[in-house]
Symmetry: C2
């Protein structure tokens, strides 16, 4: 069951909050709320209390802060610095918007970002280290204590430029999130099972490979679980799907025992539900507007897609 | 349970039997048994009696005929014509052998092939129309009667050159097998759910989209089922995976009620098991050598990969 649980544990997220400019062949969304921490927080806050650590400039619109506050996202770790907010401009092409080109990245206040956790955030039981420099992700780990479930994301840039940093990171987290290309790139293994084993060998209990329209796979030491992608007829903006996925994943784990395989498996499906919502509109619009009924319906669809035995007659 | 069932119904297959020449960066298999009907028959004959309709030349090696006979494949519909057997030469590249180039196709005796069913084949309850010209697939349908489950495969060439023939075919079969590119090409729909609905609108009860390493999806009118791909560490030769898949699929259906959704869903998993075996070695070697234990073990792995709730502890 989706919905914020009374006993759901708080989740700390550290990552980017941005103003995005996204184009497709058909549409253009200028100056919209973006950044991994934004997508993650709005998704995860449907399930559990969220604590955000990030930085924005003085130009960051009040309406976005209001949106976070409406979802009770704790902004005590959100630094507001003189200067402009991190800006990212990208263009998608292809009939399924499968090709992305980053046109411009303006780091702005993000250039000097160092995560600084308020004291009250240090004991966060769940932690999501969104895609930022491994060194900054490691700085976060110096500040937390006794976290039960730490997950991290990354990107091809850090695999190329700071592999030692990533290796240090992977030795200290419970869960590594990657896409298929990153898993192959990091491991040098062409096929996912061996690639996942290579990452698991650093110590994480869980490796999750995100594959967009092909769903996502959970690898643990000796098992794998395939979470199907929600069948969609429209994709308007793929931005943020992976972070929304992580939000659904950790969101569900926050209300249950993240050490149990069935809980992890169900969390994968919630991840795919939130990812599917993210891509149906620009920016965080669909996640911000999603209701429990809609999430539960999509979860039911995904469960039906992996149900082997039932008593209903075929097709027609 | 895999294994040929006492009551499994016979399956008719019509398609190519070939001599293949396959290269990868590392290996070369010259003059090996190939062709859709070969892969299909050897896979399906693990489950049910198979009746083959095809053509070979007088150069076709006796050892391949022996292999078919050892599996009790009924060769009464196999024409042996003066001339050379159909030959196909291809090269795979890419770290996962994901790129294929056909170097040469020699139709030889296949050029004048017209399927001619022995009388005893006409009442075959299950039929697989492997990838050949739609006109020939339709010729087969003129010769069968009261088949309970007719499935057809195709390729991009016929979508480009004989769309009307394919449309006629799709109005007369129960199950259409395609890969994702073909589904998009045929329907003009970029996303699979809409593409599958477009194909279903011609009349088949079932559309199956084969996606190689991403598994396969079963679409019926209002449901979808995702059959995960077997996690593999090695792919030596992707040739024939789709036909071996079809052999596992129809093989399981031959021993059960193909009108029931749970039966179709389980058949999808058997399809993926046989497809996974096919790619682990050149030609039909792995399918020809596979045992029931191995098939059952792989089926268990795939079922575990879509099992949501169980009581085992996570990873470690």
């Amino acid at each position: 069951m989706a919905g914020r649980r009374i006993n759901a544990r708080p989740i700390l997220v550290v990552g980017s909050v941005a103003l995005d400019d996204v184009r497709t062949a058909a549409e253009h969304a200028p100056e919209v709320l973006g950044g991994a921490a934004s997508y993650f927080s709005l998704a995860a806050s449907l399930f559990a209390p969220v604590r955000m650590v990030a930085v924005v400039g003085q130009d960051f619109p009040e309406e976005h802060l209001q949106l976070f506050k409406e979802r009770s996202i704790d902004l005590d770790g959100l630094q507001v610095k003189p200067g402009k907010t991190f800006r990212w401009r990208a263009q998608y092409s292809g009939i399924r918007l499968e090709h992305r080109v980053t046109i411009e990245t303006q780091l702005n206040v993000f250039a000097d970002f160092h995560p600084s956790l308020p004291d009250a955030f240090r004991d966060s039981p769940l932690v999501f280290l969104a895609n930022i420099q491994p060194a900054l992700q490691l700085e976060v780990l110096e500040q937390v204590r006794d976290s039960a479930f730490i997950a991290c994301d990354t990107m091809n840039l850090w695999i190329e430029t700071d592999r030692p940093g990533l290796e240090r990171l992977y030795r200290r987290v419970h869960c590594v999130l990657m896409n298929a290309e990153e898993a192959v790139q990091f491991s040098g293994e062409p096929f996912l099972p061996a690639a996942a084993r290579a990452v698991l060998s650093y110590g994480p209990r869980v490796v999750i490979v995100k594959q967009g329209e092909h769903g996502s796979i959970l690898f643990t030491r000796d098992r794998a679980f395939v979470a199907p992608a929600m069948p969609l007829d429209v994709v308007r903006d793929p931005t943020g799907a992976g972070d929304a996925f992580a939000g659904g994943l950790l969101g569900h784990l926050a209300g249950a025992d993240s050490g149990l395989e069935p809980v992890l498996r169900r969390a994968m499906l919630y991840g795919n539900v939130l990812g599917s919502l993210a891509v149906e509109d620009f920016s965080v619009r669909r996640i911000a507007g999603a209701g429990q009924d809609e999430i539960d319906r999509r979860l039911s669809t995904l469960i039906d897609m992996i149900t082997l035995d039932d008593s209903r007659p075929a097709g027609r």
